[in-house]
């Protein structure tokens, strides 16, 4: 017999998936020789590089542990799509106005043509059943990819934790990233 949900009584069974941000643990590879952890440093914010980073991150999550350190322009991708203007001072606000943040608002570095380039890319992607960066980001999160924001970039852009998408870890700095590499994570700079 299937248990029918009993509202009020036991609202316990609801899973809280991967949303709990954990401070990037400096775990070393396990005793047994498993695959190396993957560390993607997502530095760029252009559509094409964001797409590549999301494809690799979601795929890596199916094969082992993967962390994505998001920094500089990469962090713009992880601002909530709904945020239009971010930042505390006029320059930070101006920056967000000139390049709209959010995974759905990435531009191509070449042949953007005021949005015509990305529009065609998304049209083709749909036609060939290629998942969008946003879909891949959500899949990655559901599969346990750890997205780690860069504290320095947050400060520089005047971003708060609330500006960023749900489920990211605590912000960290370069030393954490270097330590992960020294401990054996395979690094990838995009």
């Amino acid at each position: 017999m299937t248990a029918v949900t009993d509202p009020g009584q036991n609202a316990v069974a609801v899973e809280a998936p991967a949303a709990t941000p954990e401070p990037a643990p400096a775990t070393s590879p396990e005793g047994e020789a498993g695959p190396r952890d993957i560390l993607i440093i997502n530095y760029s914010g252009e559509l094409e590089k964001t797409w590549a980073a999301m494809i690799l991150a979601s795929t890596a999550a199916t094969m082992g542990k993967v962390r994505v350190f998001v920094t500089f322009w990469g962090l713009q991708t992880f601002v909530k799509d709904s945020r239009r203007i971010t930042g505390q001072n006029w320059m930070q606000k101006m920056m967000s106005l000139m390049q709209r943040p959010g995974v759905s608002h990435r531009k191509l570095s070449k042949m953007n043509f005021f949005g015509m380039g990305p529009w065609m890319m998304f049209k083709l992607a749909k036609q060939y059943h290629v998942a969008s960066p946003k879909e891949l980001l959500e899949i990655g999160q559901a599969m346990g990819v750890e997205f780690i924001p860069c504290q320095m970039t947050m400060d520089m852009y005047g971003l708060t934790r609330d500006d960023l998408i749900e489920g990211m870890t605590e912000p960290v700095g370069a030393a954490t990233v270097i330590a992960l590499m020294q401990e054996g994570s395979a690094p990838l700079f995009i």
Partner: protein, 77 residues
């Protein structure tokens, strides 16, 4: 006795990396030793599934191609 297929993932028409992602999601729900069948049309999946199987330890026990459809049967580790 041949084991029964526990579940089938129809990834026909999907592009990289979705056949692998869907497979990984489905295999999570299976018990060790159970069989998962995957159908894909992505030509890259022949190499991709070999690589994926090697690193995850989920063995490919059957593989075939028929009219552009690639079929894999994986045994969960």
């Amino acid at each position: 006795m041949a084991m029964e297929i526990a579940q089938t993932v129809d990834a026909k028409g999907l592009s990289c990396p979705m056949p692998i992602v869907r497979t990984a999601q489905a295999i999570k729900g299976l018990a060790s030793g159970q069989l998962l069948e995957v159908l894909a049309t992505d030509a890259g999946s022949v190499n991709d599934f070999a690589a994926w199987s090697k690193t995850t330890g989920n063995a490919i026990v059957e593989q075939s191609a028929d009219g552009g459809v690639y079929r894999f049967v994986l045994r969960k580790k």
